[in-house]
Amino acid sequence: MSDFSVVGKPIPMIDAAAKTTGAGKYTDDLSLPGLLIGKILHSPHPHARIRHIDISRALELDGVVAVVTGADAPNPYGILPVGHDEHALALDKVRYVGDNLACVAAEDSRAAERALELIDVDYDILPAYFDPEESMKAERDLIHENKPHNLEKDYHHVFGNPAQGFAQADCTVEGRFIANEVTHAAMEPHSTLATFDLDPVTGNIGRLTVWSSTQVPYYLQHKLSLVLDLPMSQIRVIKPLVGGGFGGKSEVIPLEIIAAIAARKARRPVKITYTREEVCWAHRGRPRTIIDLKTGATSDGRLTAVEARVIQDGGAYCSYGVVTILYSGALLGALYDIANLQYDGYRVLTNKPACGAMRGHGTVNVRFAFESQLDEIAAKLNLDPAEIRRQNLLRPPAITVNGLRVQSYGLPECIEKVVERSGWAERKGRLGKGRGLGLACSHYVSGAANSIIRSDMPHSTVNIKIDRDGGVVVYTGASEIGQGSDTMTSQIAAEVLGCLLSRVKVVAADTDLTPIDIGSYSSRVTFMAGNATLRAAQEVKRQIASAAAQKMGCAPEELIFRDDLVFRRDAQRGVPRLEGEPSGENPSRQRSRGRTHEQANTSQASVAGRVEGQILRGSLQQKRKEDLTPKDFMTFEEAVVAAIDFHGALTGTGSYAPPAAARGGKYKGAGVGPSPAYSYSAQVAEVSVDEETGQVTVHKVWAAHDCGRALNPVAVEGQVIGSVWMGMGQALTEEMIWKDGLLMNPGLLEYRSPSAAESPQVEAIIVESVDPEGPFGAKECSEGALAATIPAISNAIYDAVGIRLHEAPFSPERVLAALRAKKAAKPLNLTEGVDPTRPTRFREHGGALCFKQKGPERHELDASRAR
């Protein structure tokens, strides 16, 4: 049935008013009596052993209540069970400039900051590793003793017969691609407030409550329990409003643990809010990546084999790294039909802030390389870029060579739509000097089929409770981080129950109140929490139906729930006109379209007898006494009252676990990549290039995205536009700049996310493939589109000026360097020796950290000294 009343309608976010008026509370807005401010001491060295930390002088300072160091919480943790290599405060070693050493909890920030100056740390400085390929050669002074050659993890996968595939190819293209490092730049810096209950009699420390800007409250509860040696039941994690995450809050960030340790020691509530610089050090962004890619194709454009060797500069800790490097390989599959695939992935440790999950996790940089190379092949074979992509479509339902199950597959339609809307056939290659069009595709998981904590527990569980006045409360662990999960949850509940959206209240992400949900990452929430909501709502609906059916003298199956009414299927035409409604033969049909909430609310009140709450209940009770004959319809509230009278409490629960068939193959590393459903994207970018300055302007992007069913089209469009915009940032302007382990641009002035002035027009085109397993057929829409933007722009630059960039971002100096090389103009060293069309290594910022005896203390074997 495609005729929904709530789902599929453009609905404003239910929490939008609080955010736009400033009334909404984020973690940093919260306070408690006796609150202390925590400030963290960070390492100035990229790699050093800690000989001694002396906090005595800091403790003497007025206003300082507690100082904590690694010794206060020695248990290691990490987001992945295989990667418990972090201590929120360093125990024996610091591993990057910015690593956490100690935290002062004081009466105000100034006292805390002054105290930091009084902490004395004695180091043994070690040589540091900054370039992943150099780091892999390390024999001594390893970053983690148990990781030889500073190799976090490597995987070597062969599917099909790549050698044979390449032998069959008429055309093989090979090249190295480099994508530089980017970070999330979420608007809200991380913030955590932690407090312990004190036993009023003994004064002993009791339960811990933590408010935190997190995408993953349950993982946070779990890791806090590990580090603090507290049972999870003694920890309550609450997620207030979160101002964006993009993956940067999808694991436990040091401040979350540090605030808790500090609160325990100070025996008072402690709040820590990161500065922007600290956000950059906490990082967990997209690692800079080297991709050596080789693709073979027949003369008609059929891909015969793909071989990828990927090196990720993971920074100093594992974080999500093992998953990232697996995604990079796994999602070579499931977009196109590729029979032979070889993947060698290396996740390398370096003395830089840890990389982690970032929008499009693991797939984005490889997709940039792949879609660029596909265009290179198309050019060689004289094929249209759209045509070569059409040549390689999957034929679902299908299982890819690497074990990914694909069911719904809107890619062909996405390609058709953007080709048509952009005028591709007529305009490509004909836009005149310096202007061009580029096409690229991408895809992403709708949640991982295997959770990072190996267990059989459902990935999402949702409880629903309905009150006597028809108020529906949905309890979900899913974390609203701005993406709209609360709105999605409400919509699904309202749709299933046939009630008004305004009846639904969402209680989310509070571990004391809400059942477990593993969090907002890997675009899993709509698919998984959405399915759990659907099931919970269906369970409650069954209870309402059985009671209502008795009142209405029919079988429960004959009832329809819709538009805040419960009516008999056969009585549809006879439903009486409601007060305030225009007359019409079929109210349910009429009311389903375009009615505002206010209108709905008024008529709801007049049905039931005026207003909400007690009065309403009274009037309902009266009505019941008067009217005992079976009816054709009941209002939603009447049905709810009947059900509560009949069953006692009215509650339901639903959960979701991905089906076994979607969980992928059996080989080592097969757990990452499988998803119950994949989203698909195709994009065309129109750019112009200033050939004298190398500046690229993106004029328009046509972005078609297959999200299954669009539960809320405006939300989908918003996510697609946001993805394109963020992808454009990585394509053109965003880049973390490094010099000997120092992040040269740890702020939003020098780390340049595009501003409104650069925003191109984005035409978001929704393609609805309707997935057989998604809630109402929905899939993901928040990540998949990003990866296509970068190669679409790169391919458009090629169309515009004939240069093929192998290094992102396509900053003006790189573009100009490539243009000058093409014209054989007088060489200028615009890119410090790294040719952006054939890059070999990562570029370091110029100048010198150390010179002769000047500069910071560094080990004599350190790269900064060697130069």
């Binding site: 400039v97 100034r110 040269m744 615009l830």
Partner: protein
């Protein structure tokens, strides 16, 4: 990081302000719009005990027409400058440059005095205290090395304000006062060319006015600014061109560059290339070459020095041709 506690002084009279400056000389900073000073104080680049807030000093606010030209109070916002009809009519180059500063919100606060006095910038300097600790500090603040030119002893932080190149082309003068005297210097003389001690201003002195001579009115011109984003960003290289024509010929052409040296600089020798027997295009190229040679960018920003110098060349040529086409 929090700002180190200081005492804020808000005099209403210029004379009081100057007396205050004299009294606390060396331990006081002037606060105009604060758009540069306050972020710097949070980074602990300045830790003065006193801050002199000059926003109540009527005498140094506003744009006034005089016999000799135009007088702009140092505490006049860039917003007021970009919206001044008089300036739009007579000194469009200044308006064009002012419009490119930062973003509209910042220009509501930012003043022209602050823009002229703006501290020089460098990736190794405009960082938090803890960041600077990790790089061992630098010559400009607390250290003994210049990370962008490590062999030398000079600071190469780049002067990165937008209005000074326009003001240089327009032959602006500034009035500087202390409690006992007042002096007037050409803007050109105000800058030293050193990244650390970048301006000739004594600790007890205040910039009070900026004068645009009548002779510079009605110059045509163009300002070209390299920035990565269309808003917010400081210039990474920029050029101002002012041109006066007579019967189709170039009577006077002046060019100044910013963000590529420790001072904004007038490009010397331009006039000698003007009106020689060559095409406009060729002339513009030669002038551009001169400008590029004047630029000495180093790795003070994320873009490479070579690129910034090249942009000075490209933008100079474009700006000259554009000014010529008007």
């Amino acid at each position: 990081m929090t700002v180190k506690p200081f005492q804020l002084l808000c005099p209403r009279e210029l004379s009081d302000a100057l007396a205050t400056l004299e009294k606390h000389s060396g331990n006081i900073r002037v606060l105009a719009g604060g758009t540069d000073l306050l972020p710097s104080m949070r980074q602990r680049l300045f830790e003065p005990e006193y801050v002199l807030d000059i926003r109540q000093l009527r005498e140094i606010q506003g744009i006034r027409l005089t016999e000799q030209g135009i007088e702009i109070g140092a505490f006049t916002t860039l917003h007021a400058i970009e919206n001044s009809d008089e300036l739009k009519r007579s000194y469009p180059l200044l308006v064009e440059a002012a419009k490119t500063v930062a973003s509209p919100v910042i220009r509501n606060m930012a003043t022209i005095g602050g823009n002229v006095c703006l501290d020089t910038r460098c990736l190794w300097y405009n960082q938090s205290l803890s960041w600077r600790k990790s790089c061992g500090f630098c010559i400009k603040k607390d250290g003994n090395i210049c990370h962008v030119a490590p062999g030398g002893t000079k600071c190469w932080a780049a002067f990165s304000a937008d209005t000074p190149p326009a003001l240089l082309c327009l032959q602006a003068e500034i009035e500087i006062r202390n409690a006992s005297s007042s002096r007037r210097v050409t803007l050109e003389k105000f800058y030293t060319g050193e990244g650390d001690n970048y301006r000739r201003l004594q600790p007890d002195e205040l910039v009070t006015h900026i004068f645009l001579p009548r002779g510079s009115a009605l110059y045509g011109g163009a300002y070209r600014k390299l920035r990565i984003r269309g808003s917010i960003d400081y210039p990474l290289a920029a050029v101002a061109v002012a041109l006066k024509r007579k019967n189709g010929d170039f009577e006077d052409l002046r060019i100044a560059i910013t963000a590529v040296n420790p001072a904004p600089l007038l490009v010397a020798g331009v006039q000698s290339l003007v009106n020689r027997a060559m095409t406009r295009e060729r002339m513009a190229e030669e002038i551009a070459e001169l400008a590029a040679r004047t630029a000495k960018p180093l790795t003070t920003s994320a873009l490479t020095p070579e690129y910034r110098r090249e942009i000075i060349r490209v933008f100079t040529k474009r700006a000259v041709l554009e000014a010529a086409a008007d």
